[in-house]
Amino acid sequence: VLDLLYIGLTIVVFAAVLLAGYLVAALLHPERF
């Protein structure tokens, strides 16, 4: 169970970073979206 938790946490953290990247791009370069 703990293994699944930490694998899930890894995916969540990286997904959050990726989403933050998209968010930043959308806010700072709205003309490109």
């Binding site: 930490y6 890894t10 990286f14 990247g21 700072l28």
Partner: protein
């Protein structure tokens, strides 16, 4: 020989060695990252991995490639640790517990190498060599290629493309890191660092007691640990262990390795932007802060306040006699102005102001010279903030290396600068506020606050040096520390790459009479001022309640 003379000689020797390597290595890295020619093994690798080496990536694609590569690296390393007992060369060690395995995986993939375990009693040879050491190369490579992508932002015009992440990472690993590591590893082995598969030996000590010692492939990992600014030791005692760092020669050589690539990247920057003076200006900022820091740590550790330091003629607690104060102070300053985090003395035992300086070094965001690559893109962002501040002061349009610094670029720079302090202060405050993490503090009062601040500053900045005195192999610190390391590494890289993409889309503008010179001493002084003001404003309350309060008590 007096300690002061020994210190001056070591610094002098180091500066000469680094100066000799600065131009050839910097030029070589620039050539590697700009040539169109692929080596045959590289072409085979691209074919094997299905990579189109000619494809140029936008900053978003570059970021996605980097994140995908790093996420898979974390999962792979986590899996290796969790299955260690079933792998070859495990030395009989059990599988690493989940929380510790995750913290370690996040730590090595982010170039942090924070270690909540003792290498010699937790990990077998295969995990050390094929897991951790591989990440020592790759995480260093990722840092350098992000810096190179940032530099391309300045030299490219009317394109959002920054290069190809996979090609950059392959080249920097195969053409720079591995060849240098082979040479450096041989020097370390010749200097006495061990390199074997000797496993465990039971010895009888001079006092008649029994001791178990473990051998291992240390020299080959020691070299990339220092040169890649990773810092994770084969042994728990890190570079104070005689198998990793046997004598004053290996000590100064390890400091040389720590500083080699970060300084040389200034030359790479100057070469790529076709103005070496710009590289020298950034180099001057880095060298001044590094030297002041090394002098400060050495000065405070040479003080004799208190009975024990008076008897030893210095604050020798936690330091190796074979390195003395100069070898320890120089190492401590160098490991914390970069993102290395290796230690040859124990920072928890430093005098309050000595420990405060190494903490302050990390709080500067490790840009002087910083981690391999991470220091370069960090100081470029600080240079951008400096030209903006300078532009406000004299009413000039801010420009840097032929690119206008517009509101969009400043937003990226501001977001970059806010990320690290936010993560550090959030997790440190939470750890002090909650009962369970607070129980991990060994020393009460200001020193305890410094222990927690140091831990999260080190992890978030991907330094990895431990202050000791804080029990961090707990579910709380393993998990929050892992999150802090991942966010501290990759969130700033979003802003660095976004900024690079924004710069690359601009048309380059030639310098005019209204352009602020960014290669002169005035600019060097302004960058140092901006760094000190930003760190001072952000962290002064925490520093005042921690090391300052303890030192003035």
């Amino acid at each position: 020989m007096s300690p002061a003379l020994a210190g001056f000689l070591q610094v002098g020797l180091l500066i000469v060695a680094l100066a000799v390597c600065y131009r050839p290595l910097g030029n070589y890295i620039a050539r590697v990252m700009t040539t169109d020619k692929h080596w045959r093994p590289e072409r085979r690798l691209y074919k094997l991995m299905g990579i189109d080496a000619a494809a140029d990536q936008s900053w978003g694609a570059y970021l996605r490639s980097m994140l995908a590569f790093s996420a898979i690296s974390v999962l792979f390393l986590y899996g290796m640790e969790r299955l260690q007992h079933f792998l070859l060369l495990s030395l009989g060690f059990p599988n690493v517990p989940p929380a510790l395995a995750w913290n370690t995986a996040a730590s090595f993939v982010t170039n942090t190498n924070w270690q909540n375990y003792s290498g010699e009693s937790t990990l077998g040879y295969l995990v050390q060599m094929s897991g951790l050491a591989v990440q020592n190369f790759l995480s260093a490579g990722v840092g350098i290629v992000v810096a190179i992508a940032m530099i391309r932002g300045f030299i490219r015009s009317r394109t959002g493309n920054l290069g190809n992440f996979w090609v950059d990472l392959t080249r920097i690993t195969l053409r720079v890191l591995i060849p240098l590591a082979i040479v450096g590893g041989l020097v370390l082995a010749a200097g006495g660092a061990i390199e074997n598969f000797a496993s465990f030996h039971s010895l009888t000590t001079l006092a008649g007691g029994h001791q178990t010692m473990v051998g291992g492939p240390v020299a080959s990992q020691e070299v990339i640990k220092e040169m890649g600014n990773n810092g994770g030791g084969f042994f728990n005692a890190n570079s104070s262990h005689p198998f990793e760092n046997p004598n004053p020669f290996t000590n100064i050589f390890e400091i040389f390795l720590i500083l080699l690539i970060p300084f040389a990247l200034c030359r790479t920057f100057g070469k790529m932007v076709k103005d070496n003076r710009q590289g020298y200006a950034l180099l001057a900022v880095m060298v001044i802060i590094w030297l002041v820091s090394a002098a400060g740590v050495t000065f405070f550790e040479a003080q004799h306040a208190g009975l024990a330091p008076q008897l030893a003629h210095a604050a020798m607690e936690g330091k190796e006699v074979r390195f003395g104060i100069p070898g320890s102070g120089l190492f401590a300053a160098s490991t914390t102005v970069t993102s290395t985090g290796a230690v040859n003395s124990f920072h928890d035992s430093f005098t309050p102001f000595g420990g405060g300086i190494v903490l302050f070094n990390m709080m500067m965001g490790e840009v002087t010279p910083g981690g391999v690559g991470a220091g370069m893109y960090g100081i470029l962002i600080l240079a951008i903030i400096t030209v903006f501040v300078g532009g406000l002061m004299v009413g000039r349009t801010p420009e840097y290396i032929g690119k206008k610094i517009r509101p969009t670029e400043m937003k990226y720079a501001a977001l970059y600068m806010l990320t690290m302090p936010t993560i550090v202060l959030f997790f440190a405050a939470l750890s002090i506020a909650l009962k369970v993490p607070r129980a991990s503090i060994l020393n009460p009062g200001p020193h305890g606050l410094t222990e927690i601040m140091y831990a999260f500053t080190s992890m978030t900045n991907n330094n990895g040096s431990a202050f000791a005195g804080l029990t961090t192999n707990t579910a709380w610190y393993n998990t929050t520390g892992g999150i802090a390391m991942l966010l501290g590494r990759f969130v700033p890289e979003i802003f660095a790459l976004g900024l690079a993409g924004s710069l690359a889309r601009q048309q380059s503008v030639p310098a005019s009479v209204g352009t602020m010179p960014t290669h002169k001493p005035l600019f060097v002084g302004m960058v140092i001022g901006v760094i000190l003001i930003i760190v001072g404003l952000t962290f002064f309350p925490a520093l005042a309640l921690g090391p300052f309060a303890e030192g003035l008590h």
